[in-house]
């Protein structure tokens, strides 16, 4: 029961904080923070199901989120005219040949009975030949596609479908990637797994940054369609005008608040559905089994549980949730910028949220996401304020003071580090600990 009252108090507190921001700063800011809190909390749910329930360290959040973002492009952008005709099919064929060569070499490796070194050499050669063939087929179509109006398009484009479909597709893409990554690395010890997933997520980002035909690379894809109406559209509606009149708030602000609110509703719906499903899963025999595996792999194995398979399963589920959140984030931003994917912001910050909130507890992860994201946003002004307070007795022309104030924004990294360290030291189970069952 202690847990429950603590949950209620923390959620109530968070609500008050957000309302305070709305009243004292502006509702626009409060809603922006709230939306990102919602997305972060979906990501933390994904990591929590892996780390909290199964003890898997997944440092690949960034990569899965970026794949979700890619789903936005594939689903919602209009196809670039002529791009498919000039060589889209060739690219698909080339990629298929490469993938087939990998599958073939793996197959060969498993079936053929030879000396291991020779087998490695042969499979390497097969993949290399597949790669060369792919490059021969793909190189010139890619060049052609990238030269179609490079300032505006220069990529294949998407299917021009409603953007909201990209959320489940983002989950699917991430799940598919997680399947491959899991197959490669889940057998590893936890440290290695952490490093491997981090490395693979970097590879994904590098691909998105450099394959211009797919995602326009560092040129970014702007102007993704929205699932909600545009501000301008709203401003011409009768009822919006009336609300603005009644509340005595300027019209642009009302419309932008309405847009953000509709995003919030959508995100909240997704969050609630995922939370509901996860709560069921955690309480079910499946959840019990996962925890048994986490707590003692050997004895779970002795009870006949297939640990590798279960780990793969939970890895895929968690990553898919992160992928969905990543797709939602890109939809909210309205643009896909591969450069913005940084491990510090995506992977490690999400991990801090999970640890601080309470690993193994879904409600804890959500409150962790809210608190940490709020702090991450607000610690910049907070740091500035703190430093100006500390240095208030120094004259304004002092070099040290201006230097300190200039770099005040970076204090938030220190804050985050300290929050994580303090949590791990004094409340290693997090704000809302795992429920003892």
């Amino acid at each position: 029961m202690k847990n429950r009252s603590r949950t209620q108090i923390l959620y109530f507190l968070m609500a008050i904080i957000l309302f305070a921001v709305g009243i004292f700063q502006s509702w626009n800011v409060a809603l922006t923070i709230f939306n990102l809190c919602l997305i972060s909390s979906i990501m933390t749910l994904g990591i929590n199901v892996q780390w909290g329930n199964a003890g898997i360290v997944n440092f690949g959040v960034m990569g899965f989120a970026a794949l979700g973002g890619l789903a936005n492009i594939i689903i919602s952008m209009p196809p670039t005219s002529n791009a498919w005709e000039t060589g889209g099919n060739f690219i698909i064929i080339g990629l298929m040949i490469f993938v087939l060569s990998i599958i073939f070499s793996v197959f060969m490796f498993k079936r053929v009975n030879l000396n291991k070194r020779i087998k490695y050499l042969i499979s390497f050669l097969i993949i290399f030949v597949g790669y060369v063939i792919m490059r021969l087929i793909v190189d010139s179509p890619i060049e052609q596609i990238e030269s179609i109006e490079p300032a505006k398009t220069g990529y294949l484009g998407g299917f021009n479908l409603p953007v909201i479909i990209s959320w489940p597709l983002g989950g699917l893409l991430a799940a598919f990637a997680a399947f491959i990554i899991g197959k490669i690395s889940l057998g590893l010890r936890s440290d290695y797994l952490a490093i491997a997933t981090l490395g693979i997520s970097e590879i994904i980002i590098y691909i998105l940054k450099n394959e211009d035909w797919l995602s326009r690379g560092v040129k970014n894809v702007n102007g993704l369609p929205r699932p909600v109406p545009y501000e301008i559209e709203l401003q011409s509606r009768e009822w919006v005008l009336e609300t603005a009149n009644i509340l005595k708030i300027p019209l642009p602000e009302v419309s932008s608040i309405l847009v953000k609110l509709s995003y919030s509703v959508l995100f909240l719906l997704v969050l609630l559905v995922i939370l509901y499903l996860l709560q069921i899963a955690v309480k079910s025999p499946w959840g019990r089994m996962m925890r048994a595996i986490r707590d003692n792999e050997v004895s779970a194995n002795a009870m006949g549980k297939d640990i590798k398979k279960r780990h793969l399963q939970v890895f895929i589920i968690g990553s898919a949730i992160v992928g969905i959140a990543g797709a939602m984030l890109t939809t909210l931003d309205g643009q896909f910028t591969p450069v913005s994917y940084q491990p510090l912001r995506y992977t490690f910050l999400i991990w801090i949220m999970v640890i601080v909130g309470g690993s193994g507890n879904n409600f804890g992860s959500i409150i962790g996401a809210f608190l940490i994201w709020f702090f991450w946003i607000q610690s910049e002004p907070l740091g500035l304020w703190l430093l100006s307070f500390i240095t208030s007795y120094i004259s304004d022309t002092n070099l040290v003071k201006s230097h300190l104030l200039e770099n005040a924004a970076h204090i938030r990294l220190m804050f985050m580090g300290m929050i994580l360290l303090v949590t791990l030291r004094f409340a290693p189970k997090g704000l809302i600990p795992e429920v003892k069952r």
Binding site: G187, I195, L344, N407, L413, R425
Partner: protein
């Protein structure tokens, strides 16, 4: 003549940069490997320790230059390095006393230590950006080249030039000195042997009267030294930016794992494997073929296996391959 030109081309674009970058990675990977083998966790904060070392070097450089102490034609960074090392060691030990010691006492799992090291990474990263700012800092001074491409061309009469930057020379020489000292320490001195014993079997080492706190202290001294030198050399070679060190952690981890975590020889080999494969895979082979093949066989196109944009991604690809084929690394891990 063509043959010599080809060799020069390879040395200029692959051999020398590979040796330099490889030494930097090797020094970093050694630090990670030693922390891993003694303290049993993957230290994600190592990149930031390197950055911290580089930062102290820069600050000291500015101090020394303002006092007009320099070492022309060598960069000032060489004189300040010992002082920077001491400060970095002090910081490492401080972090250990305040943070890591608690978890060591508790016998925490290595994953917990890993997450703790991420906290340290955040804190140190913030501290560094707070002190020196996030911008680019170039602290190289003195003579830029040991051997200029033009001089080489005039001297030998070849059409390809060979250049050796001062920073490259310093990196290679300093790394050799450090590695020799480290191996001498680990293999010949009593303290080094006790450290190896501790990493090999903790309980047995404790029973034979080895002081664990002393071993840990020495571990951090070695780590701090390696981190400071590696960070300063990297910053000297490629200009210092706090942000790059976060991205350097992964190639370093790859190097440590490729060589076999816990094995110093492996860390060095791993560093060079990563560095050379990055260069070999992204090198445009057209010119080499131009020198080695008869003219009518030279294909057009750059003949790159992967474009240069993927340079850093290669280290991760190698990491994945190694984890797939031989998770223990080239040398089996866990022996200093």
């Amino acid at each position: 003549m063509d043959f010599l030109n080809g060799i020069t081309l390879i040395s200029n674009y692959i051999l020398i940069p590979g040796l330099t970058y490889g030494s930097q990675l090797a020094l970093g990977a050694l630090g990670i490997t030693i922390v891993y083998s003694v303290l049993r966790f993957s230290n994600f904060a190592h990149g930031e320790f390197m950055s911290f070392g580089a930062m102290t070097s820069i600050l000291l450089c500015w101090l020394f230059l303002s006092l007009e102490i320099n070492l022309n034609p060598l960069p000032t960074a060489i004189i300040v390095l010992p002082f920077a090392i001491i400060i970095t060691i002090f910081y490492c030990i401080l972090v250990d006393k305040i943070i890591f010691k608690f978890y060591r006492r508790q016998n925490s799992k290595s994953v917990i230590n890993l997450i703790v090291s991420i906290g340290v990474m955040f804190f140190t990263g913030g501290l560094i950006r707070f002190i020196i700012g996030p911008g680019d800092k170039n602290f190289f001074d003195g003579e830029r080249f040991i051997l200029k491409a033009k001089t080489f061309k005039n001297y030998t009469g070849l059409s390809e030039g060979l250049a050796l930057k001062t920073t490259q020379g310093i990196t290679i020489v300093l790394s050799i000195i450090l590695v020799v000292l480290l191996f001498w320490f680990l293999n010949k001195t009593k303290t080094g042997k006790s450290m190896r014993a501790y990493s090999d079997n903790k309980e047995l080492a404790l029973l034979s009267g080895i002081n664990p706190e002393k071993v840990v202290l020495i571990t951090w001294i070695i780590t701090g030294t390696l981190a400071c030198v590696a960070g300063t050399l990297y910053g000297l070679d490629k200009s210092y930016k706090p942000f790059t060190y976060l991205h350097l952690v992964l190639p370093i981890f790859s190097a440590a794992i490729v060589g076999g975590v816990g094995n110093p020889v492996g860390a060095i080999i791993g560093g060079f494997v990563i560095a050379f494969s990055e260069l070999i895979v992204t090198f445009a082979y057209k010119k080499i073929f131009f020198y080695f093949l008869p003219n009518y066989l030279v294909p057009d196109g750059l003949l790159q296996i992967l474009s240069t944009d993927y340079k850093i991604a290669i280290s991760f690809i190698i990491l994945v391959l190694v984890l797939l084929i031989r998770p223990t690394g080239i040398y089996k891990g866990k022996i200093i």
